[in-house]
Amino acid sequence: MRRDFARRVRRAIANPTLQSALDHSAWRRVEARQEAFRSLPDADSLQAEARAIRMRTVAELEDYVQLFSRRLASNGIQVHRAASAEEACRLVISIARVHRAALIAKSKSMVSEEIGLNHALQAAGIEVVIVQLRGETPSHIISPAVHLRREDVAQTFQQALGMPYSTDVEAMTAFARRTLRGVFLSASIGLSGVNFGVAETGTLCIVTNEGNGRMVTSIPPVHIALMGVERIVPELEHLALMLQLLPRSATGQKLTSYVSLIQAPRRLGDLDGPDERHVILLDNGRFDLVGTPLEESLLCIRCGACLNACPVYREIGGHAYGSVYPGPIGSVLSPALFGVAEYGHLAKASTLCGACRDACPVQIDLPTLLLRTRVEYTRTVVQPQWLRVGLRLYTWIAERPDRYRSALRVAALISRLLPLRGNWIRALPPPFSAWTRFRHFPPFARRPFRARFTSRPPVTPRRGILPAPDGVPARNIAAATSAQDLFAQQLRGVGGELVPCQTGQLPDLISSRLGAARVDRLLAWGANEPLLAPTLERLRREGVTILEGEIPRGGGSLREASLNRLAEAQAGLTGALAGLADTGTLVLAAGENRSQLASLLPPIHLAVLPAGQIFASLQRWIVATKKEPVIGASAVSLISGPSRTADIEMTLTTGVHGPGRLIVFLVQDA
C-alpha cells in the first residue's frame, strides 16, 4: 500500500494538468473561506461551541442514535442500521428490488463512496446515474472535480454524453442540466447523503448548490438517505450553528443555494414529494472509535477545509491518497475506519504544519490525531530498518550525555569524509540521499555548542517600554440598518433579484416580469394563498397556463408524464414562509397546494415574501417559531440565490439543476 502511495505521489507531481488545476483552485478556496468567516462576528467562539456540541454527541452517540431513530420512525421515515459497508449496500439493493427500480438518481455522497455503492449497484444490474462519468471517485470531499481543468471536463462530456466539444463552462453546465433532468424525472429512487441529522426532531439536513440534492430528495417516489452514524446534532438550534460553519468552511459561502430540512415522506395534502423515505445509518467502524484516542475524528462535518489548507494535498491532489477520504482528515479516518495496516502510511504524509487544525471549523486537533495514528502504524507495520534502528540508536545515545558527546565527535568526523560544496555536504549516503537530491546538508560542527559555551558576566541591559500591540483590524461587518436592508443586500450578494413592492402592485409587477420572459406556462402555488390569488387570476385572464403541480402517488409512467408536464413550465411562482436576513435566504415549506417543484424545476423562480416575515438568522427563526414550521412540514427548503456550481475550475455558473434566476417580491405592507 505504501509503495502504491509513493507511486501515485510521483505520478501526481509529474501530472501537469493536475498541478495546474490544484494551483488554480487551492488558494482561492482558502481565501474564500477566510473571507466568509470575516462576516461572522466571533467565529472562534462559534467554532468552540460547535466543537462542544459535536463532542457531546459523539460521547453519547448510541443514545443520540436511538433518539434520532425513534423520531425518524415516528415521522414515518424508515430507519435501517448498517454495521458494515456490505450491509449498507445490501440494504440499498433490497429496497431497490422491492420497488423494481431500474434507475437510481444519486447526488454526491461521501458515504456512498465509502461503501462502494456504485459498484455494488452495477453488479446488481441497477443503473445509477450520477455526475461521475469518468469512472473515478471524487478527489475532494466537497469539490469532486477539483483535479480537472475545463478541457478535461469538455473531453469527458464529449466522450460520455456525446456533447460537441466545448470548453465553455456555461455550455457544459447547460448540457449537464438537460441530460440529467431526464434522469431526475424518470428515476424510481433518489439517493442522497445527509449533512446532519437532528436527533430531537428527526430532521434530515442536506445542503447543495447545484440543486441535485433537492432533485433526488423530492422528485423520485422513493428517497434513500445514506448517513454516517456520527453526523447527528442534538437539536435544531445546533443545526443552525453548524450551518453557519459548514458552507463557509466548504465553499466560502454564507449558506449554500439550497438547504433541505426533510421531516417526513409526502404527507396527506402535499402535492409532491417521495411516498417513501429511508435512512440508512452506517457504522462501518465509527462506534469502535468512540472512547479511543482517535474519537475526535468523529467530530468532522466533512467540509473539506483541511484539504484545501493542506500544503501536501495541494501538491498531490486527492486521488494519490488512494482512499475516499483524502487530505489530513482522510489520513486519520482512512486508517481508523479501513485499517491501519492498509492506510496508516498516509499519516506520515504530513509535515504537521498545523494548517489543517487552523482551518477546521470544529477545531479538530488534526496534527495530534496524525501523530497518534503514526504510533499505531509503527506498532502495526514494520518500519524501514534505517528508521527503526536509527531512532532506537539515537534514543540510546540521547538519554546519556556521555554517549551524546561521543556521538557528536563521531558525527563531525564522518562529516569530513563526505563530499562538500561551499562547506555544505552535497551528497549523503542512502536513505539520506533523499535529502541531498534536493538540498545540501550542513556538516556536523567540529566544536558543538556545548564545547563553546562559557559563562560570561552580564552586560548593560537593553530594555525599554513595550510597543503598543498592532491594532486589530476592525471586522468588516456590513452596516445594515435593518433586517430588511440586510436581507436585500445579502440576496443581491448571492445573485438574487429583489423587487420591493406593495400588495396591490403584485399582479402588475409579476405579469410584466413573466411577459418579458415570455412565460406562458407557470408552475404556481395554489390560489388559496391570499397574497398570490389576485395575481394568479390576472395571469389566467392573460392566457397563462397555470400548473398547480400535483404529482400522482407511486412510481411509473403516470408520475413521469406528470413530471414531464411540470418540467415544461418556464417559471415557478411561490410564496415564502420567511426570509433570513444574514444570508439572504428564503424559507419555503411543503404543504397543501404548495408545490416544492415550483422553486426547483423551472428556469425562473419568483417568490413573494411578506416583509414582516424577515428574521435576523436561521437561529432566530427556529427559536421564534418554536420549530413548528420545520416539524409541521414534510420538507422545508432554504433557498439562497439561484442554483449554482463552481465545480469546473471554480467558474461560477448559475442554473445548474435548479432555477438560474431568483426574483423575490418583497411585500412591504404584508
Partner: protein, 245 residues
Amino acid sequence: MPEIVQLFATCLVDSLFPEVGEATMEVVESAGYTVSFAADQTCCGQPAFNAGYWEEARRMAQHTIDVMSGTIGPIVIPSGSCTAMIRHSYKELFGDDPIWLPRARELAARIYELSEFLVDVAGVVDPGGSFHGMLAYHPSCHLARGLGVQKQPLALLRAVPGAQVTPLEQECCGFGGIFAVDHPEISAEMLERRLCAIEECGAEAVVGADVSCLMHMEGALRKSGSPVRCAHLAQVLAGRGIGLR
C-alpha cells in the same frame, strides 16, 4: 544579581549550528541576563515523537525533564518546534502518568521560545544588531501556529537598524523532519514554492526562529547556486551577519 536564564540549545543548534547558540547567548545577555547551560542536555525527543516512536520519545523527554528541572530560572529555547514539543507534546506523551505529567507541566511553565522571551518577558524593544537590506521573515509553523508567536519576531526584526523586513505568507517550507526524507518529492515541491516566494520578494536573506526550516531552505538555496542565505533571528539580532554557519 542579574537573573539567571537557562539555555536549552536544542540538538540541531548544538551539533550543526553552534553559532546560533552563541548568538542566542549574546542576545539574551544583552537583555541583562546571565546565561547558564546545563551540560547534560541532549535532545527533547521530537524526532522520535513525530515518527510515532513514543516509547523512545518518552525516554528522551524524561532525560530532558530530569536535566532541566535541576536548574533554576526561565528556560530559553532558540526554536519554535522544540518549545512546542516541550510545552504541548510532553502532555500528550505522558497522558495521565502520575509522576511524569506533573513534572512535564512544571517544565512547560518555565520554557520560552527566544523571541517570546525577549519581547514578552524581557521587554526588549531595541534588540540591537544591524543589517542593511531586505530580509524575508519565515514564520515557521510550530512557532506561529503551534505557539501563536507571530508578532514578537517581527517586532524584533523591524527594530534592527537598516533592515527592511518582508514577512512571507504563513506556509510550510516542506521540512517536516523525517518527512523530508520519507517523502522527498512532496517536500521538494513545497520547498520550491517557498523558494519562489523568497525570490519574488527580492530578499537577500531569510530569517526565522527554527534552524530546522532554515537549514532546509538554505540547503536548497545553496544547491541551486542562489546567493540568498538564511539566518536565525538570534544571528541577525547579534549582528553576526547572514548564513547559518
